[in-house]
């Protein structure tokens, strides 16, 4: 099992690589822009249709580069948050993630103190149960990023005050379930699981009409369904 120092070193290395990738993407973007400018100048010497086609291709390429740059920035932010929040607790090597939840190295919820296997077991049981009852379910973890800043206020408790969640914040769901023609993120609760204010704020934002989160495979999530399951500490979920 790697030491805390090893994990930290690896994360910093990944962070540096991400920054280099972002820098490369910006250079490529600049090069594309320059080529686009040159092509525009060359329009006089080419047929109009050829030049327009070439320009269109350049613009498409620029869009691809911009998407890559956005992903790089998102990756940088995620890595920076991980580095800032890394805490290894329990024998399973679980740690606190940017959205406030403790998860095992494989991404499964690891209980309030990061030591429980109950989250993974509850998740598997709930997904299997939903399918056995005829629900259309995507059992894969669903990674989404907030498209805009989400602002709100925690009205009471130790964290009372304004809440700001930057765009590009990762929100991971345990799966997705279809209700009618729409997809909803699955949030599994088991044992001692509780939602962080950040998770709750993102999910409340998602519930508002018109707001959506998009998964990597293009699913449009319009809300969240949460699940509790009968759970026994000794035996696991029923």
């Amino acid at each position: 099992m790697p030491s805390i120092g090893d994990v930290g070193d690896r994360l910093w290395h990944a962070h540096e690589q991400s920054e280099q990738a972002a820098a490369s993407a910006r250079q490529a973007e600049g090069a594309i822009g320059e080529a686009e400018s040159n092509l525009s100048i060359a329009l006089d010497g080419s047929s109009a249709s050829e030049a327009e086609e070439g320009l269109s291709l350049l613009r498409q390429t620029r869009d691809v580069i911009e998407d890559a740059l956005r992903l790089c920035r998102g990756g940088q932010d995620t890595l920076a948050q991980y580095i800032a929040s890394i805490t290894v607790r329990g024998p399973g090597g679980s740690r606190r993630h940017p959205d406030g939840a403790y998860r095992s190295p494989s991404g499964k919820y690891a209980g309030r103190y990061g030591t429980s296997r109950s989250g993974a077991e509850a998740e598997a049981k709930i997904l299997a149960t939903l399918k056995s009852r005829g629900n259309e379910v995507d059992e894969r973890q669903q990674y989404t990023t907030t498209p805009v800043a989400i602002k709100g206020r925690i009205q009471s408790g130790p964290r009372k005050g304004e809440l700001v969640i930057p765009p590009g914040t990762v929100r991971r769901y345990d799966g997705a379930v279809k209700r009618g023609a729409q997809w909803f993120g699955i949030e599994v609760k088991g044992g001692t699981a509780t939602k962080t204010p950040e998770q709750r704020a993102i999910d409340d934002w998602l519930k508002k009409p018109g707001n959506t989160l998009t998964t990597p495979d293009g699913k449009i999530l319009v809300g969240v369904r949460e699940y509790n399951v009968r759970y026994d500490d000794e035996k696991g979920p029923n």
């Binding site: 005829g134 629900n135 809440l163 939602k195 999910d203 409340d204 707001n211 809300g223 949460e226 009968r230």
Partner: protein, 124 residues
């Protein structure tokens, strides 16, 4: 199979849901339809349009709006032939109306936990 529906703030644990299910089965604290929470009335009306015979407390001959229901929630009882359709059909309604759904056989509670005291502002 039984499914149970109710309105609540927060989301019951599986143990709390089971206790509520038992109270509903015993039909404690019956209330006339007109005194139920608006969302529960909407659920019963919608469910009656899709599977009225499954609503315990109603029947094919009697409109659910003329019956009483437990103040703790509504019990649905489906035949085996609906084992693969009852849950998705019911949860489509409960999702729209923000209600909690409990499957006693599986010990599964579905809903949305809105108990945290947080206000999210509209998009700027």
């Amino acid at each position: 199979m039984d499914l149970v529906v109710w309105k609540e703030k927060g989301l019951s644990s599986a143990e709390e849901a089971e206790a509520r299910y038992q109270r509903i089965r015993a039909n404690t604290d019956p209330m006339p339809f007109s005194e139920l929470d608006e969302q529960m009335q909407a659920f019963i009306r919608d469910a009656a349009g899709k599977f009225q015979e499954a609503i315990v407390g109603a029947s094919a001959e009697i409109n659910p709006v003329d019956r009483s229901f437990s103040r703790h929630g509504v019990l649905l009882r489906f035949g085996e032939e609906m084992n693969m359709t009852a849950y998705p059909m019911t949860s489509e309604i409960t999702t729209t109306l923000d209600l909690t759904l409990y499957d006693p056989e599986m010990g599964l509670v579905e809903g949305y936990d809105d108990s945290m005291d947080i206000e999210v502002y509209d998009n700027e």
